[in-house]
Symmetry: C2
Subunit: 472 residues, 2 copies
Amino acid sequence: MSTGPVQGMRDFLPVEVRRRHFLAERFRGVYERYGYDPIDTPALERLEVLLGSGGQDNEKLIFKVMRRGEALDRALASGGSEALAEEGLRFDLTVPLARYFAEHRAKLPKVFRRYHMGPVWRAERPARGRYREFWQCDVDVVGAAAPLGEIDVILATTDALAAVGFDGFSVRLNHRRLLAALLGALGVDKDLHASAVVAIDKLDKIGTDGVARELRERGIADEAVTRFERLDLAAARDVPAREGIEVLARMLVGLASEGGSIDAAEVESALGEMRQLVGALSAVRGDRLALALDPILARGMGYYTGAIFEVAAEGVPFALGGGGRYDGLIGRFQGQSVPAVGFSIGFERVLVVMSERAMFPQSLGALDVYVTVFAPDMLDDALRMADGLRTLGLRVVVPVDRGSLKHQLREANERGARFALVVGPNERDAGAVQIKTMASGQSVTVPRDQVGPRLVAEPDEGAEGAPPAVSE
Amino acid sequence: MSTGPVQGMRDFLPVEVRRRHFLAERFRGVYERYGYDPIDTPALERLEVLLGSGGQDNEKLIFKVMRRGEALDRALASGGSEALAEEGLRFDLTVPLARYFAEHRAKLPKVFRRYHMGPVWRAERPARGRYREFWQCDVDVVGAAAPLGEIDVILATTDALAAVGFDGFSVRLNHRRLLAALLGALGVDKDLHASAVVAIDKLDKIGTDGVARELRERGIADEAVTRFERLDLAAARDVPAREGIEVLARMLVGLASEGGSIDAAEVESALGEMRQLVGALSAVRGDRLALALDPILARGMGYYTGAIFEVAAEGVPFALGGGGRYDGLIGRFQGQSVPAVGFSIGFERVLVVMSERAMFPQSLGALDVYVTVFAPDMLDDALRMADGLRTLGLRVVVPVDRGSLKHQLREANERGARFALVVGPNERDAGAVQIKTMASGQSVTVPRDQVGPRLVAEPDEGAEGAPPAVSE
């Protein structure tokens, strides 16, 4: 029988679990400092909740849980009229948020800032870096006006990434209504907006000519494609956002004057939001946060309704997170529109980058002390010594199999312990303990009551990720 | 459409998530100090892994994940010869450990101390306090000799419970081989041991007469039942374990002399283990850990092979955790016996007890500061102030909807903020900030650069569960 995990899912070795936990705890710390509330929801949701308005696109993503017992028998006998499954594993944390918010609204603050980290499951074909079980890490503000909610989630998310060692942040911004206005002004038929966005999204990969070709293949009117080819997008994208916004504003006016269709009031309100958003972010973070407008940033998800954004960090050639405003989704169970904006960190992606760049504290989870047991009748003494050292917050192991001192020191080494303690008959008679520094192999013998203070005083530079002591 | 969670599963409100997290972090801190390594495994396992030797008993517990696409069509068309499901949600953390250990053995320490906290799923009928999704919290030592492994997991588990506020611990101990010896000596047929244990387990509820009646109903020989009725179990149960072991030893000798069957060498080795276990635990913890032998403690699970134990805390009328040695299970994927011993804390049960007894820090997750925005043009200033306070580790909210000061102070109150900061035109001109203490309603105006130090200095007694600051 195979002993591997199921296809597309992962077992995590201790070092990996500690890294995941380190990341989650740092993010959590920042979200808490921003006043976000944690929520949790079941792994399983009813299929009607999961499918919802999202429709059949999501259906093939879902791991469905089969009905049981008589219900299953009935469904099998029904020849397809009764479903074999009514529940499935969640594929994101946003659908559960919408259900949760509808269910618990009365018990939640009117403006609900929430964070949620946890696994989601997708029955996609596994590929390098794409798993069927992976973590998402979302912050959302429900009930927040634009652009105040946007400001909050962007500050919180960049702080969260800073808390794990990233810096040199840049945020690419766009606005769904500006994107729609641009497409409208180009003369792209409204029904073809989504299709056009798929092509335009490839600009950086296939260039203007490539995009133009694909736009034509997708049935976009020739006139619109020609206008697209003439656009000087770089003038808006490659400058600070503050300028980029004005470049885009002029671009839209220009296209309108050429006969493109444009809703001036709609555009002006979206531009106003972007100006405020950029103004506030600049005021708070200044040079520490680069902001750029990208008039063609789309971020696939059909549910965005306002600002959209992605965050990158210095030296990382892809976004570490993305988000935007989605005023339609949260209220769907209540049949009303509830303003909401969110920002997700690519938890798995961040882990990969941090592992590759050795950004985790080296000694995450490393053992401090291995207390050897010189002879069976000295076990109690070793256990007492270990107990005392643990109250000082040290990570201490006592051997759990009977082996020679040599065998024990081999385990101490294998476990990466910084120190081993040895109490032989001589030390016992003298009320002393031999402290062996594993890295150097050097030993020093000290009186028993000085062992704890001495080990605690010893510097351990990589230990910042150590779990907090009980007394904290 | 219903917006509740699926039947038998739970949504968690922020206060509940923080409590769960508080618990998990405290436990984790202790396990790390004992040198245990965290592991994680997928929610889904192959059914052949889940069912394994455990057989069909577990099958009805499992949420099975339906096959998809063509595989499902084929299975439906096969008329039952192909399974509709090949994977299911894990129902415990021990089966995944066995698979994990077999798969990753070469990368793990020879003696593998592991902890694992996480959700498991069981398709049982939901009831009060019984859920279909709940957390387990296990420590296990794989590759550990008896009783050294036992000592380690018992010390770690009682320390973990102490770290969340329990004390006055007592551990009830027994040994599977001693239980078998007792049943054998009573004259219970080996095939009926499991059945007899079910009856005897009810002793404290239904008394000796009740157990005797049920034993007879279960087909236990009259002679054995009579011997059981004459046993003075209290003499072994109601005394310190050190004495209880000797009482049991004499009891077994006595039964043997009456003609009961007994394997003296087997009994002596088990008694020896128990004496060592009790001796070491007493030596380390003394009066802080009460130990009792309970010759009829069985702990349902068929897989235990050696010592078994349960831990209770002062004033809690049921066990908070249980465990034992199970030398057969871990090696089953490798076709060999691998010694292992584990101790599980009843995570959900502990949560209930702690919530009922208000054992969680009162201010878990409470907001420190609400920075009001007096007028729209003062937003940037408020955001900057909040940013500065967060670097001090404070939990700070800035409003994300535009409302009057009164409206904002209402949110500050609703969110339980300790302080609200107000900068009106007067304060702005004077370079000052008004600090409003929400509990008393009193305000004090201080120079801007003194706000941070002043808020940090303010005592907040309940805040011990606050998440660590980034700088930690």
